[in-house]
C-alpha cells in the first residue's frame, strides 16, 4: 500500500492507495490537469493506514476544514516539503515500516 503527498492547485493533499497510478489518473480526471504525486511511500497496509490516521486524527488541526467537514487537504500554508518532513518524523518516531519510494 502507498501513502502519497500531492501538490494540488490550491492546497497540499495526501492519502493512501493500493494503486497509485490509477489514483493519479483519478485526480487528473477530476482536475482537468495532470496530477502527479510528488512524494510516495510504501509499506504494509496497517502501517500506511496508521500513518494516514495519525495525520487525520491526532494531528487533525493540520487539515483544511469547510464548515464541519474535514477534508484530506492541508490548511493554507503547508508545503509538500513540510508535510514530507512531518511524515518522516512520524515514521521514525513510531517505528512505522514505511519507506519513501519517490
Amino acid at each position: 500500500m502507498h501513502f502519497y503527498i500531492l501538490p494540488g492547485p490550491f492546497r497540499v493533499g495526501f492519502g493512501i492507495t493500493g494503486n497509485h497510478e490509477r489514483r493519479e489518473k483519478d485526480y487528473t480526471g477530476n482536475w482537468g490537469g495532470e496530477a502527479k504525486f510528488k512524494y510516495l511511500f510504501e509499506g504494509p497496509p496497517s502501517h500506511v493506514k496508521r500513518l494516514e490516521e495519525v495525520i487525520k486524527t491526532i494531528h487533525s488541526d493540520m487539515l483544511w476544514k469547510l464548515e464541519e467537514w474535514t477534508t484530506e487537504w492541508l490548511d493554507n500554508g503547508w508545503t509538500p516539503e513540510q508535510l514530507l518532513e512531518f511524515v518522516h518524523a512520524t515514521i521514525a518516531e513510531r517505528h512505522l515500516k514505511i519507506q519513501q519510494v519517490r
Partner: protein, 375 residues
Amino acid sequence: MIPAYEEVVRRPNVMRNLNPLKNHISTVINLESRLSELNNYKKWQKLMAEYRKQGIVFSPKLRPMIKMVKLGLLDIDEDIQRMLDVKHCTDKIAALGVFDPRLLQVVFCAKAIGAEVYHAVDGQHTATVVAALVDAGLFEGETDWREVEVPVLYIETDNKAFARKAFALINGKGKKKISQYIEHRTKVMARRIDDSEDDDDKDAERKQSICEKYDCYPVDLDSPHANKTPGTFTHMQAFIMSDKTLEMACKFHNDYFHYDPINGSLWFMINDIKTGFDAANIKITDKFLRELAGLLQGCFAGLAEFHEAVHSAHKLWGKMIYNIDKFPWQDDAIAVVLLHIYQRMGGTQQLPQHMLDRFEKIMDFVTDDIKALYE
C-alpha cells in the same frame, strides 16, 4: 518471528493538566460565559441570522410557567403518559435508602386554558409516589394527599396533540441525554469535591485514580480530545472491569502505546486475556505482554489497525462460512486472534487452549499480508 517492541519517545501527557476530573474544588462558571461560548459558535450565528431574516419573534407569555399545585388537581391522560410502573415506583423511586424528598422532580403539565385542570405529561410516577407516601403517613403533619402541593411546570393549551409532543420531548427526543462519561464524572466529582460516602461514587473515583496513575483519561464522545489526544478513551465500559484488570490494561497502554489515544480493543483484549489465563491458571508475565506489544506495534502499528483487521476477518468469516452478511460482532475475537497470531509467529508462552479452540477458523480469513507474517 515476533518483532521486538521498539521504545517510542515519551512526551508529558497534556491531559495531566487538561483532565476535567482532576479538580478537587468545584469550578463555577456564570451563565454569561456560557452565553458568550454559544454566541461565538458559527452555526449558532447563522441560525440567529436566519431567524432575523425570516422575521421570527416569540411571545414571552409562551414560555412555561411554574406554580405550586395541589396533587388533587392533577389528572393523567393514559393515552399520553405510559401506564403506571408500580415496580419502578416501589423498587426505584421510593426504595428504602434511595428515596430522598430533596431529589423530587418538578411535574410537567398541560393546563387547560381558563381552568384549574392540570394534565401531567411527565412526572406521573413522582406525583403518585408523593401522594402514596403522604397517604401512608410518611410525611410529618400531612394527612390528605389531595391538599399537598408540588411544583408544576406547565403550559396552557387545550391541544392534546401538543401535550403529546411535549411528553415525547421531555422523555428523550429533545433532551441531550446524559452520557456514560457524564454519569462517571458526576460520581468522581461527588467523591473528590463533596467527599461522598456513596459506594458507587467511591468505586468510580478509585477506578478514575487507577486510570490517572497510568496517564489514561476518560473523555466524552464529543470531547475535542476523543480519539486524538494520547491516553484518552471514550469506552466507559472500561470501568466495569475489576480494579486489577483495569490497572493491567492502563499499564499496558502506558508502557507501550502512550503515544496514541486508547483504542477500545484494549479493554476487551486485556480483559479476555486476564480472564482466560486466570481460568487456565497460567501466569501473565511482563515478557509475554512485551511480546504482544511488539507484535501489535511491529505488525499492525498499534491497536487501532489490529482491531480493524480482526473486524474485517470476523465479518468475512461470518459471510463465507455461515452466509450471514451482518454477522454479529464478537469482541472476544480480539484477544483470541492476537493469541493465534502470536502462536503462529513462534511465540513460546503457554496459551490457554480453551481460548485457542475458539475462532480458529477465523484465521483463514485474515488478509494475505497478515498471513505473510507467519506463513
